[in-house]
């Protein structure tokens, strides 16, 4: 099973500019999480802090119980072996072919024979749909292909934690759907902890078990998908619906007067869309253990959730599960016994 990442009170600034402060969240082991946020809110910076490329000034990041912020250089290199990271533009090595790029981690960290390396590389290339492109250079292929090759390279050492920086940007909707499915399938197969950073609403609605959002230099919310998808928090509602009215403006946050005017015009709080069902692993793959673990966790803390979120959790349970958790379906909205 994947590894838990516990972030506590994290803060990062570049000189006088604070990127975000006091970010606390726990990525549950083996589950898929998405971190949303408008462009420039420091999502990429957050990912780079998680792998120890940037050093946050405050807080701690516990990975499998070891604090990445305070630990020694050597330990940091050890911890990094747990990670597979997909960077925003794939970050392939420009002077190597796709094959050599994907083979790079194997050649560096294993003593496999070339035939075994070939087999693994071809398997991962097929997984991301790049069969036949092994001999191309990164400069000769499209952005979407670079991204998929970057993913293949991130997967080649069977990581326990997969971080993806905007896997959907620059991809068409169909390719994005394939990539989303690929991540869910991966989770079903290797049970890795996955964190996806994006501003794509569709990915946020269909892929993750847990969802969070960064806005105004803070983590607005982080929790099970039901909580964010039913949240009436204005920022979250605006973002998840892609609306113009709400606290997020074109260049920065809006001022109070504009907000008042909008409130008068559009009324309070946008209607949230229905929660769409989460993606399932492709047919033939095992069920995701994460789903069961997460349900256990949710049911235990059900009474702490908002009524709408409770309702959603309950409606996602089968009769069989209801019986297992000792719950009864009630006709009243939000009622649980």
């Amino acid at each position: 099973m994947g590894v838990e990442i516990a972030v506590e009170g994290l803060g990062k600034s570049f000189g006088p500019q604070t990127v975000w402060r006091d970010v606390s969240l726990t990525l549950p082991p083996g589950e898929v999480s998405v971190l949303l946020g408008p462009s420039g809110t420091g999502k990429s910076v957050f990912l780079k802090c998680l792998v120890g490329l940037l050093r946050p000034e405050h807080g701690s990041i516990l990975i499998d119980g070891v604090d990445l912020v305070g630990c020694k250089e050597r330990q940091r290199y050890e911890l990094r072996k747990l990670f597979g990271v997909l960077f925003q533009d794939g970050a392939l090595f420009g002077s190597m072919t796709l094959f050599d790029n994907v083979a790079f981690p194997l050649r560096e960290h294993t003593r496999y024979r070339e035939s075994k390396i070939r087999r693994i590389v071809f398997e991962k290339m097929e997984m991301v749909g790049l069969t036949g492109a092994e001999d191309k250079l990164p400069g000769e292929i499209s952005g979407g292909m670079r991204k998929r090759a970057g993913l293949a390279r991130a997967l080649v050492l069977d990581p326990e934690i997969i971080l993806c920086d905007e896997p959907d940007s620059g991809l068409d909707p169909v390719r994005t759907a394939y990539l989303s499915q690929l991540l869910i399938d991966l989770n079903a197969q290797i049970d890795a902890t996955i964190l996806i950073v994006t501003h794509n609403i569709n990915v946020a609605r269909t892929v993750p078990d847990n969802l969070g959002m960064i806005f105004r230099k803070e983590l607005v919310l982080f929790g099970p998908r039901e909580i964010l998808l039913t949240s009436t928090e204005p920022v979250v509602a605006q973002f998840l619906n892609g609306l113009r009215h709400g606290p997020i403006g074109m260049s920065e946050e809006k001022d109070q007067a504009t907000l008042e005017a909008e409130r008068a015009r559009y009324g309070d709080g946008a209607e949230l869309p229905e929660i769409v069902p989460q993606l399932e692993p492709s047919p033939g793959l095992p069920v995701r253990d994460a789903v069961r673990r997460r349900k256990d966790r949710l049911v235990q803390s059900l009474h702490t959730l908002a009524p709408a979120a409770q309702q959603n959790v309950l409606s996602s349970l089968t009769e069989h599960e209801m019986a297992r958790y000792g719950l009864r379906r009630s006709t009243r909205a939000g009622g649980v016994l």
Partner: protein, 257 residues
């Protein structure tokens, strides 16, 4: 432009730290031999021709200047000696400096800079491979080797140029030139010259790598970095050259006549 001294000191500090790191990782296996050969070839190919072209006029100018000066004070026979001192001890390390920083260093800086903004360096670090060991060390070593090579070449070409202008153009006597040459020149001159070149190569490589690994914001930043790397290297190398020359003149007594 920020004129406060603290960020500047911090930059100097991290530059120094990178220098130490490069020195430490130079001895760490696995040694990146292929990368070294490729980089050596690359740096050599961009710098050999320009340094040959620069060193001929350099030797010539020194030869001509000295020629007219020595004629005025009636010391034509010291022409060879003076030009060899000037060329080997000073001119050739300086020419090497200019070329290594201007041609080799800028190429290294641009290459590492574009890799940095494409996040290749980050990706490498995340894959558990030290970018300093893998990319910077071979480049610094290549710059050092090429500097030594260039320094030797510039010395030969410069002295030959001086000889040509003195003997052929100004009608000096070949015998006097060569005799004074061996009277004043000593082997330590060449050693210290090569040692300087080695240090210059190291410094130019480290400065170029440092600026390349830390470009400020986007592709435009890489251009600025290359620019700065050349200027910083020039300043640093002229300074180091002054120090080394002063120390050398104190330690090794000039050959008497």
């Amino acid at each position: 432009m920020n004129l406060s001294p603290v960020p500047a000191m911090r930059q100097v500090g991290s530059l120094f730290a990178l220098g130490l790191e490069v020195f430490r990782l130079m001895w760490r296996r696995p040694f990146q031999f292929r990368e070294l050969v490729q980089q050596f070839w690359f740096v050599a190919s961009v710098s050999i021709l320009p340094s040959a072209l620069v060193s001929i006029p350099f030797g010539a100018v020194i030869g001509l200047q000295l020629g007219s000066l020595t004629t005025q004070i009636g010391a034509e026979s010291f022409n060879g000696a003076a030009s060899v001192l000037a060329v080997i001890q000073q001119a050739s390390p300086i020419v090497t400096t200019l070329i290594i920083a201007g041609a080799g260093g800028s190429a290294i800086c641009a290459d590492l800079g574009s890799r940095t903004i494409r996040e290749e360096i980050d990706a490498m670090e995340v894959l558990g491979v030290s970018a300093v060991q893998r990319l910077v060390v071979p480049r610094v070593l290549a710059a050092m080797l090429v500097a030594v090579l260039l320094n030797g070449m510039v010395s030969v070409v410069g002295v030959a140029g001086g000889y040509f202008f003195n003997v052929i153009m100004q009608g000096g006597t070949p015998g006097a030139y060569l005799a004074s040459f061996s009277a004043l020149a000593q082997l330590p001159d060449l050693w210290v010259s090569e040692l300087k070149a080695l240090m210059f190569g190291f410094l130019a490589g480290v400065v170029a790598a440092y600026r390349g690994l830390h470009p400020r914001g986007g592709p435009k930043g890489v251009g600025d970095s290359v620019n700065q790397s050349v200027v910083i290297t020039f300043l640093l190398l002229f300074f180091v050259n002054g120090v080394v020359t002063a120390v050398y003149l104190q330690l090794v007594p000039a050959k008497g006549m």
